[in-house]
Amino acid sequence: MNRVAIPLAVFGALLALPLIGLSSYTMHILVLVLMWTTIGMAWNLLGGYCGQVSFGHAAYFGVGAYTAGILYFKLQISAWWGIPLSVAVVSVFAFLLGYIVLKLRGPFFALATLASGEVLRITTENMGEFTNGTLGILIQQRTWIEKTWYYYIILAIAALTFVVIRKLVASKWGYYFVAIREDQDAAESLGIDTTRYKTIALVISAILTGICGAFYTNYMGYIDPHIVFALHDISIITIMIVMVGGVATEWGALIGAGIMVLLAEWIRAIPGLGASHQAFFGILLIAIIIFLPNGIVGDLPKITRLFRRARA
């Protein structure tokens, strides 16, 4: 019962939220939280459930973002078409990259994904006319000045992602993903085509991330390779969101995204901190790994116990 009621209640609350008249800044924060929630959920499918820890999800975010950007920049077509088109483009990229990186295991896989994100950034920077290089792509006319519609679009994407991942995880594929995470050799010997199912998890995860990239282009109105293929600000933040919230949990991405986005804003508001805000994130990550290795959702029982003890 709760499995239906809680998501519906959360969804209902998020639907109603803009009606109470929030400032443009607050709406912006909410849009970012929902976007990062979606990326976190997408990463979690591959990294959390299937156990393939990717340090290169910026690759798929960036390809999605540039699909939308190039449509507008080269073909003068609305960048919103980038959302459906990014599904196709990112699938092809993920399939090809997956063919190479999924042969590797553990840390080797992680390093290869990290490299793939960087390779795509450098390639995009050097494609001249086609991508406009390091100058990036600017969308001249924004669709809406107001944030409300952007909010509802990303809310729809996030809700759809939530449903897709829940269905997947409960299905045969979900069992196979987790079996591969727990022991790839055993999974293979028990009749699971591990290469195939790892590829499926990667492609779905990449598509969902790419959709967010295409949304980002439309929402922010400007992209360049350093922003959308960023190792730290995209790939690493994605991992941190899921780790803070809880790996292989349904709600971890939302909790993690909420905390990370707010924290980033809060740290940015501290004057004179500059780029050293990254150090804050690093320290936070270390603290989380030590004290809450399963994330906030995963270690919820531990956290409630601590609070109860503190009150007693």
């Binding site: 045969k172 069992y175 987790v178 727990e182 010997s189 028990l190």
Partner: protein, 240 residues
């Protein structure tokens, strides 16, 4: 026709010949035991047969199809399942989920996979433990979970790698009972085992390997009387 044919199989690890020119066949319905001293190459034979390793030389056929170099998941789909000597449970999954994951091989429906898994758990005596996270199972039950998982793929040939090692006498009797009942279901079994009593009581035929080579093959009586075997294997047992 034999269910499995191993023809002149070799497996090298760098300079080490772990399996050298091993040939044998398994007939449908029988229990074939593979015995030999520690490090003789028994597990490597399994690994070569189930596709975990590609044989360096030689040919493996299963149901008349050449499977040398085929991937384990394909061989499993064809009807061959195995257990691991060093157990590999899906640690953070419940016992039931472990078995469901295997049962999905023959069905796409969760209901059917669950039904197969439940039946298999009852058959192997793990039903009471179905909700236990498999990391928390004692070794004896983990060994049995290996068997349950393999059975849930509904194999024709089952490879059991030391499923009896480390069991107490009660567990040993239970497991022997399970093996007998698996045979009654018409499933062919190849078993690696060190317990001589178990081997002599359940197997129809025995293949003995030593230093990667086959040194004898025959019925339990023939093997018991074979001087080469006594020298290589039983002799070592007396030292131990």
């Amino acid at each position: 026709m034999s269910l499995l044919q191993v023809q002149n199989a070799y497996k090298f690890f760098g300079g080490l010949a772990a399996v050298t020119d091993v040939s044998f066949e398994i007939e449908p319905g029988e229990i074939l035991a593979l015995i030999g001293p520690n490090g003789a190459g028994k597990t490597t034979v399994f690994n070569v047969v189930n596709g975990f390793y590609k044989p360096s030389k030689g040919r493996i056929s299963f149901k008349g199809v050449d499977i040398s170099g085929m991937k384990p998941h394909k061989i499993c789909k064809m009807g061959m399942a195995r257990t691991f000597q060093v157990v590999k449970p899906l640690q953070r999954m419940s016992v039931l989920d472990n078995v469901i994951a295997s049962a999905y091989l023959r069905t796409d429906s969760k209901e059917k996979a669950t039904a197969i898994a439940m039946e298999t758990l009852k058959f192997t005596g793990l039903y009471e433990d179905r909700d236990v996270i498999s990391k928390g199972l004692p070794l004896g039950k983990r060994k049995r979970l290996e068997i349950a998982r393999a059975l849930a793929t509904q194999p024709e040939l089952l490879l059991l790698d030391e499923s009896f090692a480390g069991l107490n006498p009660t567990e040993l009797d239970e497991s022997i009972g399970i093996i007998r009942r698996i045979k009654e279901r018409g499933i062919t079994i190849m078993i690696i085992e060190h317990h001589m009593k178990v081997i002599m009581s359940i197997s129809d035929r025995i293949v003995v390997i030593n230093y990667g080579q086959k040194i004898a093959e025959g019925t339990p009586e023939e093997i018991r009387a074979n001087p080469a075997v006594i020298e290589a294997y039983l002799g070592e047992e007396q030292h131990a």
